[in-house]
Symmetry: C2
Subunit: 475 residues, 2 copies
Amino acid sequence: MDIAIYNTTLLTMQGKGLGIIPNATIGIEDGLIICLGKAKTVDHGKTDQIIDGRNHITMPGFINSHIHSGITLLRGAAQDVPELEWMNKAIGPFIKHLAKDDLIAGSRLGVMEGLSSGTTTFAEYTDNVRDLVEKVYLPWGVRVVAIETINEVSRDRSKLKPTDLYTFDQDKGIAAFKRNKQLFHTFTGNPLVSVMFGPQALDMISLELLKEIQTECQERMSKVHMHIAQGERERLQIQGRFGKDQTTVKVLKSHDLLDSNLIAAHIHDTTPEERELLVDHKVGMVGCPSSISMIDGIVPPVGHYRSLGGRASLGTDQAPGPGHHNMIRELRTISLLTKVMSQDPTTIPAWEALQLGSVGGSKNLGLDKKVGSLEVGKQADIITIDLKKVNLTPEIHKPFYNFIPNLVYSMNGNEVDNVIINGEFIIRDYKFDKIDVEAIINDVNQRATKIFTAAEDDWIQADSKLVDFHRRGYI
Amino acid sequence: MDIAIYNTTLLTMQGKGLGIIPNATIGIEDGLIICLGKAKTVDHGKTDQIIDGRNHITMPGFINSHIHSGITLLRGAAQDVPELEWMNKAIGPFIKHLAKDDLIAGSRLGVMEGLSSGTTTFAEYTDNVRDLVEKVYLPWGVRVVAIETINEVSRDRSKLKPTDLYTFDQDKGIAAFKRNKQLFHTFTGNPLVSVMFGPQALDMISLELLKEIQTECQERMSKVHMHIAQGERERLQIQGRFGKDQTTVKVLKSHDLLDSNLIAAHIHDTTPEERELLVDHKVGMVGCPSSISMIDGIVPPVGHYRSLGGRASLGTDQAPGPGHHNMIRELRTISLLTKVMSQDPTTIPAWEALQLGSVGGSKNLGLDKKVGSLEVGKQADIITIDLKKVNLTPEIHKPFYNFIPNLVYSMNGNEVDNVIINGEFIIRDYKFDKIDVEAIINDVNQRATKIFTAAEDDWIQADSKLVDFHRRGYI
């Protein structure tokens, strides 16, 4: 055996409840889980690396179902502003100054943060996603779902009024679609990479191209991951293009574009009836609670979607605004936000949040045959959590496991001491195996300092609410 | 000089905005701040302990304005249940089994957690608070506001229907009031202890005793810290005792019990007009966002209270339910919850959250001449925060300080590397000076294991929703 974790409490996330097995051992060989179950000892002679799992939870790594990691370099750049200011006035002036290498540096920072808080799969959604896969994810041995952003509208929309319709650039869309298709060839057979199609949003793509993508997706038995019903800006474009009484969901429905291959990010600008329709068509949803509450002041409708029987999972979206790529924090955030939205403290209990962050993610992304739960034959994406931290004390096993709620409501993210992906240690006893953390922090600080300085005039001219805060000494 | 922190970024929390001073030094002698300002160097010969503050924020420690630390031993015992189940069915069966020493052990755990995430003042609200002051706070050198719980109703109310009126036990109330008064004598002249009166809530105390407390409070120039308008249970008692159209705020108003010495915890069951009335009478409020959202599914009306010009601050309440005593997490939680409640992402921006957690707390508790901001002559309650953590990267100083939002939206709590109270190191370079963390964790685990086991039958019999979750393998 390559690795054995013994004398641990397993959360397998399959079978009855959360599949809790106390005093258990799990064994890993050639990247796969080869055994698990009740056993207090392990044959030391036949195992390369042995982890004493006492006072630890051992569970599948978390699955971040929606991340734009590149702009992590802009953490702290844009928050506490009206939603309409966020993109154009607050973060826009900085994004303009990001070069390709800056996005790679930012991605390193964001992925490192995700890994250290227990995420093992990242659904990365960006232009030229191949760059990040080849320069960040694969060199580190991290599992990634590569989603190429496909849109047909020009980047500079800052002079348009919200009701002015975007002009479309077919060539731009076709080039991105081509890059997206190419990913399947590039990464065929790579155990760490899967590929999805990434039409950005219905306001940014033509129905023709969207249908082409759907057909291609069906042939490749892949998924379409798309931002859907994100708010006012999208709604105004859809009404302008398709008619006053139209919405994203209605248009997709009338063109047969709702199906079980579709993963819909956000959907906060939908009616309850539209969410029923999405569930009826077996569309999955991804909620990004920190992002959507910070930027829009809105709770993603994950609770409602689940109550309808829909497939849902969670993502961190991007760092500027929500501030982080820590999936453990997303579990607590979706639970608290859903409780206050429904004025019901029983909604999204701890165990449901844990499902959303692990097995829910793998089912939503179509990876549940590979990862998301601990089962013999699955790929070994496993984390251990140290319960002998002040904020996770006490550890109780009887009459119930108090550490289940504590994982969701008390963890910070820095209690994850081992992270294994595909049977390889990424983090061992709190230390990254291959990653020079300090070098990356220094590189990011240097790049970000340059970018923020270069963007100063643009930022002042854009004159968001933050400029006023700065003048008053608040930021 | 005893201690100097140099080459740091100060958040003084006074003057313009947050009082940000880059490249600054702060000096401490005999427990007091004796100098601060721009200076890159420090005279090494004349200073005992020198901290290099580069890539660090140096700011006043956080003020936890409302904590019941003793029951931290029951972390993870009660959450995700209907509000009416929380006290009687979920946590009640365990509380019954807590002995005096267990509460002390629990308090150690909770205070240790608060300290390590940067809290330097704890407003401790409990029966026999003297025990915790003498056995937890003072031996560790931690600043505490001692509040003795005064109530006149019998502990066992489990057989009453919500509309049955509580019976009052005058002697119980008088004994507690006496203990409360005695605290002033016991701790006179102790620089770390201040004392307040703690009538528990209007449904649990007679107006006669409350008036006596108010008079005593005025004579001692102290404060009355009281739970106010906590929800249905309280409302039904008030209506039963004072009349169908009465509320806690109305009764207090009509008996001249609203004044600037009153600190009202929670107040979520108030109308907007009642909150205006409280603000008009200069009553302060304490919001406990994690606790009230977890247990009641409600957002504390901190945002509204502040918008009316009211005095507000934050507390963690208790661990079972919210899960923690990490004030940094409360800053983010109140901001996010207020944003979604008001559907406005501009409410409680980062700088306002930081004020609520520091200088807002000292003003609300009447400690602002001593602590809560960094000023020459104030007591040296100071923390440093390490910005070279992955989740706080990048650190930007121009065109604005991106670390201000990052402190609130990206911090976990484990980035605090130095904690100084009254000029003494409590934590130095992430390590507790006097506290044996592992011994406390082990002690708590042993005690909690006994208590949870002893309470098993009661817990099953009480039959909260959690019992069903356990049977289904979810906790």
